[in-house]
């Protein structure tokens, strides 16, 4: 179980998260939905150890890992795919993958399997990161994090700005990744993609969780998302 307990996060003087408690259990697909600036990315970064917590705790399987630096969080099975993907532009697609291979012990997800998950990537393996299209970069970013064989995969708006055919490929991939045993936290701005995948939903607004619930109570949440600021 990966959790945040009562967490405050600041960017300088501005408070981005207020008393957030959030958890992901093994096997879950959890959706976090909110507008731009609501704190979705910040919450993911806090979960992944990529941002410090001013108050509260981060826990992994009961162990407090609040101060654990992000490279150690990575080694403990937490992987974050940021919204802007952050592909290494001066490396080829394949080198982006190889980097993670040399840093982590082998597991279910190998380069082979990852290329089977995203065949397009196999075709573009020798291309420089900087020359990949948005969809290819997104697939590469997910593939790259997968090679660490994470227990928890945190995806920040993985379908944003992508063509429907690629969105479908990514949805299928997320489903398979989850079936292979990786828990997923899926951040999006609306319900469209998450409702196809997630088994639990959270709504976030201005750094606070305003609603949480299972798919059968989603209608309550939809109103909240439309109505506006809480």
């Amino acid at each position: 179980m990966l959790e945040l307990r009562d967490v405050d996060v600041f960017y300088g003087k501005a408070q981005a998260l207020h008393g957030i408690s959030f958890s992901v259990a093994p096997g879950d697909i959890v959706a976090l939905i909110g507008r731009n600036g609501a704190g979705k990315s910040t919450l993911l970064r806090a979960l992944a150890g990529a941002h410090g917590l001013t108050r509260g705790e981060r826990r992994l399987d009961g162990d407090i890992i609040t101060r654990l630096p992000s490279y150690l969080c990575s080694r403990r099975g937490i992987a974050l795919v940021p919204e802007d993907r952050q592909i290494f532009s001066s490396l080829t697609a394949e080198e982006n993958l190889r980097l993670v291979e040399v840093l982590h012990p082998a597991g279910y997800w190998t380069r082979e399997r990852v290329y089977r998950l995203f065949p397009r990537l196999a075709e573009r393996r020798k291309a420089n990161g900087i020359s990949l299209s948005g969809g290819e970069q997104q697939m590469l970013a997910i593939a790259r994090s997968l090679l660490a064989n994470p227990h928890y995969l945190l995806l920040d708006e993985p379908t944003e700005g992508l063509a429907p055919i690629i969105v479908d490929a990514i949805i299928a991939a997320i489903s398979e990744i989850n079936q292979q045993g990786t828990a997923v936290v899926l951040v999006e701005q609306n319900f469209k993609v998450p409702q196809l995948l997630a088994n639990y939903f959270h709504l976030i607004d201005s750094g606070r969780l305003t609603w949480s619930g299972p798919p059968d109570r989603l209608d309550e949440a939809r109103d909240l998302l439309i109505v506006g600021r809480s």
């Binding site: 990529a50 490279y71 080694r75 290494f88 490396l91 080198e95 980097l99």
Partner: protein, 285 residues
């Protein structure tokens, strides 16, 4: 012909120093003003080992190891605490290092000029293509070329090189994927310092070893890496060749114009291609 070889040998020396400087900038984002002082330290350390053991080759092997340790210590004690601070801190810190290193060298070795004897077998000259070419300078060229090859191979083909390239490109993301970026920074600084040390050792038999030797060379190094593109090793090779040749041919044919020629190359490059010959144009965020 001999001017050509001299130009190449200057280029190799410049490359050894510039490679370290550009690697350090590419990875750490720091302009290491102390790089010239480290080169000087390398020359003195090499001098000491050579004087004590009467073995230049031993000096050439030991110096980079000693300098690597010095570099690692500097990175952890002086630089690590100030990465997040404004650039002025780094400027002052590396400048301060120059003063510390110079004083340390002065205290240990005093003010008199030192030199390293040319190793036996490499003294004198060979007669090729109708001219006399210094054997030692030929060695410097060959050795430099070997170092270029080694560096390229190391960076492009090894796992360590892959980690280094990724970390230089995006340290934050590298860290999220599992790279211990702090250690990479220390390693890069140590490597850059070791390369400067090798430069100092190589320069020993060619140039007078004295406290100011760092100053005269560091300016050329900055020109080299600006021309070549900050953070780019290929650029460092190209820049070093350009400046090395300018210096050598300038000395031979128009000594009063050397500096103007050298800075002229810099100015032209900045006008035509400000990101450097191999640099990438950065979009302003």
């Amino acid at each position: 012909m001999s001017t050509f070889v001299i130009g190449l040998s200057i280029a190799m020396l410049l490359f050894l120093l510039s490679a370290g400087l550009t690697l350090i900038f590419g990875m750490l984002g720091i302009i290491n003003f102390a790089h010239g002082a480290v080169y000087m330290l390398g020359a003195y350390v090499a001098y000491q080992v050579a004087a004590t053991t009467h073995n230049f080759w031993l000096a050439l092997c030991v110096t980079p190891l000693v300098l690597a340790v010095v570099g690692a210590i500097i990175e952890r004690l002086v630089l690590r605490p100030i990465y997040d601070r404004p650039h002025e801190f780094q400027l002052l810190a590396t400048f301060g290092l120059i003063l510390v290193l110079e004083e340390a060298v002065r205290m240990i070795w005093g003010l008199q000029l030192r030199s390293i004897a040319t190793p036996p077998g490499l003294s004198g000259s060979v007669h090729v293509f109708g001219t006399d070419i210094s054997k030692y300078r030929l060695f410097v060229v060959v050795f430099g070329a070997a170092m270029v090859a080694l560096l390229f191979f190391g960076i492009e083909r090894t796992r360590l090189g892959l980690i280094l390239r990724a970390s230089s490109n995006n340290a934050g993301m590298a860290e999220m994927l599992g790279v211990e970026v702090g250690r990479v920074r220390t390693a890069i600084f140590a490597l850059g310092t070791a390369l400067a040390g090798i430069g100092g050792a190589i320069a020993g038999p060619m140039l007078p070893i004295q406290l100011q030797m760092g100053f005269s060379v560091i300016l050329d190094c900055f020109i080299v890496i600006i021309i070549g593109g900050l953070g780019n090793i290929r650029g460092a090779v190209a820049g070093a060749l350009l400046i090395g040749m300018t210096r050598a041919y300038g000395q031979q044919y128009a000594a009063e114009w050397i500096d103007i020629a050298t800075y002229g190359v810099l100015v032209v490059t900045l006008l035509v291609r400000p990101q450097g010959l191999f640099g990438i144009r950065l979009r302003t965020a």
